[in-house]
Amino acid sequence: MRSVSSTKSFHDAAAEALQNPSLRAALDKAGAGFLTTRSRAFASLENARALTDAAQQARTRAVDGMADLLLLFEERARAQGVSVHWAETAEQARETVLALCAGKRRIVKGKSMASEEIELNKALSRTSAEVIETDLGEYIVQLAEEIPSHIIAPAVHKTRAQIDALFRHHHGGKGGESSQNRVRSSQALVEEARRVIRQKFLHAEIGITGANMLIAERGAALLLTNEGNGDLSAVMAQRHIVLAGIERIVANDRDAAAVLRVLARSATGQSLGTYVSLYGGTGDAHKDTHVVLLDNGRSAMHGGAWHDMLRCIRCGACLNHCPVYTKVGGHAYGWVYSGPMGKVLSPLLAEAGTDARLKRRVAALPHASSFCGRCVEVCPVGIPLTSLMRKLRNRHFERPESIGGWKTKLGCLCLRFLFAYPRLYRVFLALALRLLKTAARGKGHVAFLPGLGGWTKTRDFPINRRARSALALCERANRNASHTP
């Protein structure tokens, strides 16, 4: 049912994405906006650095003391009449939510990446219940039977024309035959979605949302949205189910405020999301609230080499600034988490799961990076994404079968041999450069490199001044080496 390629490798999916003109158009349109709004939001502050430092500390405190804070959260939340459930795996989380939804037919959902992670909609759709995603982007993606391509803007890959067509198809032919060919304005589309989804809110029996944070001292779930859909989901239905990863915990209000200050600024350039809500209380007798704490591989990341990744606040800044993501879009990554944070998180979370195909598909993701380091620069909580990716690459290559075919293996062996003998390496390099120079004589480039087709498939390989100076350097080094005993 999901049209996202579930078997393709990142390599193939990315190549396909690059050939998709509407995807390129949508991504190009979105790209610049994200960057300018974010940089403006931070540039207007006198002490942006102090803000990100405070957020990083708040998250570090939260992740380091996770066990105690989670227990405190549970105690406080229970005391206020909120039920807390613990789920070790995606399967257990699904079962818990399904049990909480048993017998109910009308479910509205706020945006939640954790629910995408455990494929909750798929499980719910097998029951008799009707599940409606209410975040506009998620709703669009749900109608298109896809998965979100961005953790903040799920439908960033869709153009207005595509959304218009989807709405016409699913909402019935209200547009009239005459206007079939005209693409409606985005305002009209927002209005239509509001009208349709509003009816769902009014009749909802259960509201499922995620949580941006779980505040331990308060025993409350913090939810941040711009549309108000998360809150309508929580408020209008009698039962509110919050699904959150265990690493969403923060110690107290002060730490929550510190994270809030950078979260919206990094994501959309706002100083705060339009609606920040704290749920967890006893006030209303006509309401019950459940929090499902999802582990699904997170506790295994704790304390080890991947500990830093648990700090992630899912702001999406690294996606927006990634030269790879902005060209291929989120679906190429083959799972719900994409961009630099996805390259680290997906392989680690998949490991804990039981889906062998998923594991294989996302294991190679850390290689899809040029290590330009922009993600590290913009991360508001200072996650060293590139070094985590490097560690993941190393680990990936520990198993020989992940290196590739016999050609790659042979190449690696040759290189290893050359690297072990510097003099031989220089001789070889000088020879290669000389050959290239001869081949490029008069043109300044070569059109074909034997055995390295990937380099010259779409462009000529330039042999410019730099290559010539490299050759000179090489030869000088060789001479020097032969003089010294």
Binding site: A26, K29, A30, N47, A50, A54, Q57, T60, A67, L70, L71, H85, W86, A87, E88, Q92, E95, L98, I140, A153, A155, R160, Q187, V190, R194, L202, A204, G219, A220, N226, E227, G228, D231, L232, V235, M236, A237, I246, D253, A257, A258, R261, Q270, S271, L272, T274, Y275, V276, S277, L278, Y279, G281, G283, A285, K287, H302, G303, G304, H307, D308
Partner: protein, 272 residues
């Protein structure tokens, strides 16, 4: 579905295993650090959080000005006491005057609100105005309900109200609600809702009218959080909501539109 999925014992076992994994990792890390090896994680140094706010927010007047400016930047509307004085004049004096106009005397609130409804009233019948049943006495004391008679149809929101109660009736167009406090730092209004009925006022109507006392404008987010502590409030809290402007979305081609699912307009009555 299997009822066992909600089994207490099963969840307790899961919790024990998750916590045990977290704790064993912590122990391993401590042991490693004890041996002199560098810990894999960057430990936080205790550093005091510097204030994020400009200095003028420490004074009431500065706070009001800051709140008004930031709320307006978020597309909030302020009702003014006198004539519609939205003329843009340069200079600091003009800004101060504009802020002053936006702070209404408590006695004039009813009149300002009536003028608002008179200006808004189209050809349609008087619109619904939702308000919290628990606050009825407060609105009556202010004389607001009486002065609005005929201009709109007030509806009391009681505990236990259901969404489908609105499915057949004309759609709630307006709601009137009192904010607990506001945040100057971000131009945010804070609501402490004790019941679902109160939260409906915040999210369901098309136009959300908010009453805010000037003395309730706080400086920072932290101060606002402190005002809505679960223990300190008069009654048990169900949820609190920090609202910064009307509902919005940019999910279609990153173009910003107001009124995604929540209120399309946020109207603030600031009084002293």
């Amino acid at each position: 579905m299997m009822p066992s999925a909600l089994d207490e014992r099963r969840h307790a076992e899961s919790r024990a295993r998750i916590i045990a994994r977290l704790r064993s990792a912590e122990k391993a890390e401590k042991a490693k650090a004890g041996k002199g090896e560098a810990a894999t994680t960057s430990r936080a140094k205790p550093v005091l959080l510097k204030p994020v706010l400009p200095k003028f927010v420490e004074q009431t007047q500065g706070r009001t000005a800051c709140f008004v400016a930031r709320a307006e930047a978020l597309s909030c509307q302020f009702l003014t006491g006198g004539q519609a004085a939205e003329k843009k004049t340069a200079g600091k004096m003009a800004t101060e005057k504009m802020v002053k106009e936006k702070v209404i005397a408590k006695a004039a609130l009813g009149k300002v609100l009536r003028d608002f409804f008179v200006a808004r009233r189209g050809k349609k019948a008087a619109p619904l105005l939702l308000f919290d049943a628990l606050e009825k006495a407060f609105w009556e004391r202010l004389g607001i309900l009486k002065i609005l008679e005929g201009r709109c149809r007030p509806v009391e929101m009681r505990e236990g109200v259901e969404g489908r109660d609105f499915a057949t009736s004309p759609f709630p167009a307006f709601s009137l609600q009192r904010a607990v406090c506001a945040v100057a730092e971000t131009g945010t209004l804070v609501f402490a809702n004790r019941t679902r009925a109160q939260a409906v006022l915040t999210f369901l109507p098309t136009v959300h009218i908010v009453l805010l006392a000037e003395r309730d404008i706080t400086g920072s987010l932290e101060q606002a959080f402190a005002r809505v502590q679960p223990s300190s409030s008069r009654a048990a809290l169900w949820a609190c909501h920090l609202v910064s402007g009307p509902s919005r979305t940019a999910d279609i081609e990153q173009t910003l539109h107001m009124g995604a699912h929540g209120p399309k307009e946020l109207v603030i009555l600031l009084y002293r």
